[in-house]
Symmetry: C2
Subunit: 401 residues, 2 copies
């Protein structure tokens, strides 16, 4: 069962629609009822997140053999960065520790459960990289025929990181936004469940990250949450977790969610700043942050509506800000993430300058993907290497220390 | 306090010796006493493994701010491979989900705790890749000055994956085995704790992986455990976990441990097969499996002694076997590991042909590192990519499905 924010409940037979057939609004998965809620989840401490938080998921059952061990990622306090920025309680939620190295696994894990429940044998996705690898991995795990559609010109590393799982790889020349919609049409016709960025069941997987943050903070909400923002699926899912907690009366204050875009492709930040309800297409993409550069986010309206309803913010940061933040996270805290993931820290730094959040409140940076996926992004930066012979090592060392 | 298997307890002031100053045997960390043991650990369910299993660790205290969220990795049943090989209960313990993408984090996490307790401000390591990144990451996290020594000719990807954390990077021309010992001398002189492959405290970190396997199987030991084998630190640590469990009376049968080497550099497999107590240096290294090609394992005697004591095995597999196993794990189970990690599955396949383990018993493959660390190893394999235009996509898809 799916829900349209305008038209109410939508019945879907066989396929998973992403947009309301009446008004084209983004659809969400409706909770199953009745549910026992967070109190049971907190008590259960079941190691498998899909089981532990099952009451909040739109799944009639969970098949553990489809899982790759996603979730249960660490929430780390960043004490060195707290001192550097003069704040207290700065945390990183490290989604890079998921099975294929990105947050996408959370969403794929729920969507493949739904695919199995609906009787699909074929799944697919449209992706620039992370979601391709994630969908291909879970497709292999579950024995699905898997179709991965990528933009022409996708780097070879991304093709290989998805190709190793043996999906059918297709590169497509043409507009990426149109490809998103086209894939859904093809899926409907050929019986392929395309679990794209804002698939309603994918979004539900991201909710669990929100619940884990709440649990790790001692069953309290953070003051603010910084999330890299592209299509908006991740941000929507995280906000839905706290909507559930609000609905259960477990929190009074909604965290301030901050979506962070790349300045070179920031349609949602522009729409937010100019008070629009819809994001106009971004025509002049100029950023190396490919993982967060969607010029025409398909669920843009929903992101803007939810961010405003919960008094969040959307802002943008430069590629240089992201690179600097990536370096800081690695060199000061030992966390090596993709430059796009470091947009969360870059956004935090920008907000701090704007003095737009309260001191003493906790802030969580969501790190979305592993730096190992983007080693080539470091190629242009100098590596400082000392070279010694074994016999000269001792003297060499003395000169270094 | 350290223990020599021949000479008993060894007091060490200030530095952490790796070999007995009397007989040169590999040293192990002695447990602190008294301890409440596994029953308390099982009851506690503390989310931080170093706290949960603290009774088994030689640490007087744990500083959580040094952690990067290591451990708690999934144990996944491999149902597709079970059917393929006609076995039941085949599992993978996926150590690639550790913070820097390899099992090394388990050991580094314990060694940096010890470094802090001993008052060190400088740490270091000698590594071909995984341990370099791991030590550099934990060094950054803990605010240590960190020194990473690598072989001349280390691939740029490995240098960058360690360099991002900001350590002092040193490449050394000369024999890797001698470098291991030389680093310990330099460390002693300059106050640098070199936490190399068989550091006694590093080994204790690997024990926790063994405890987690025991817990995940419902407090039962597996029938066998397959582990890629190079210096032997990982294998020793895993065996020590089950020695502890045996000592507590929690298991009756010791698992059959199988260490798997690359056929092109297999000094321990050769020594095992020919009944030697020491491994002769391997002079003609011919393998692409750099992460497991140590021609002169410094704790080789200890590995051979422990494997024989517990009726384990050491065998070798070809590079081609590893590559095939890597593909199988990815395409059949959605697990993308380094080729060296897939040595565990390749070893299992070889054992199955030898009929050397009992049907019905559970087997655990330890996957040691993420495939994302070795994307370049896939470069020589063909990628099958279909190319369509957006307008031709529908027809193209029909031809594929």
């Amino acid at each position: 069962m799916l829900e349209c924010p305008n038209c109410g409940k939508i019945e879907s037979a066989g396929v998973v629609p992403v947009f309301c057939p009446n008004c084209r609004a983004s659809l969400f998965a409706a909770p199953l009822s009745p549910r026992a809620g967070m109190k049971r989840a907190v008590r259960s401490k079941h190691p498998h997140p899909l089981v532990r938080y099952g009451d909040f998921l739109p799944l009639e059952g969970v098949d553990p053999s489809l899982s790759l061990g996603e979730g249960n990622t660490p929430l780390l306090e960043l004490k060195t960065l707290e001192r550097r920025f003069g704040v207290s309680l700065l945390f990183a939620k490290n989604e890079a520790q998921n099975p294929t190295g990105s947050f996408k696994d959370r969403g794929t894990a729920v969507a493949v459960q739904k695919a199995r429940l609906l009787g699909f044998h074929r799944i697919g996705t449209v992706s620039t990289g992370n979601m391709a690898a994630s969908t291909a991995a879970y497709g292999a795990r579950g024995g699905f025929e898997t179709y991965v559609l990528l933009k022409e010109g996708t780097p070879e590393a991304s093709l290989r990181a998805a190709g190793i799982y043996g999906p059918t790889l297709v590169t497509v020349r043409g507009d990426y936004g149109r490809l998103f919609h086209k894939s859904l049409d093809i899926g409907k016709e050929l019986g392929i469940y395309f679990m794209n960025s804002v698939d309603p069941f994918r979004l539900e997987g991201y909710k669990i990250t929100g619940f884990e943050i709440f649990s790790a903070l001692g069953d309290r909400p953070p003051g603010s949450v910084f999330v890299p923002l592209s299509s908006g699926g991740h941000l929507i899912g995280l906000m839905r977790a706290f909507e559930d907690l609000l609905g259960e009366g477990l929190i009074d204050d909604f965290p301030t969610f901050v979506g962070v875009q790349a300045a070179g492709c920031a349609p949602l930040a522009r729409a937010f700043e100019t008070g629009q309800n819809s994001a106009a297409r971004w025509t002049d993409v100029r950023t190396a942050a490919h993982a967060i550069s969607n010029p025409s986010p398909p669920a843009g309206d929903a992101v803007l509506r939810m961010i405003r309803r919960h008094r969040g913010m959307i802002l943008s940061v430069s590629d240089e800000d992201m690179r600097r933040a990536q370096d800081l996270l690695a060199a000061e805290e030992g966390l090596f993430c993709q430059p796009e993931s470091a947009a969360s820290l870059a956004g935090f730094v920008k907000c701090r300058k704007l003095k737009s959040f309260r001191r003493g409140e906790s802030a969580v940076l969501v790190l979305t993907g592993s730096g190992l996926k983007a080693l080539q992004s470091l190629d242009s930066f100098p590596l400082d290497i000392h070279e010694f012979t074994l016999d000269g090592l001792e003297d060499g060392f003395r000169s270094l220390t």
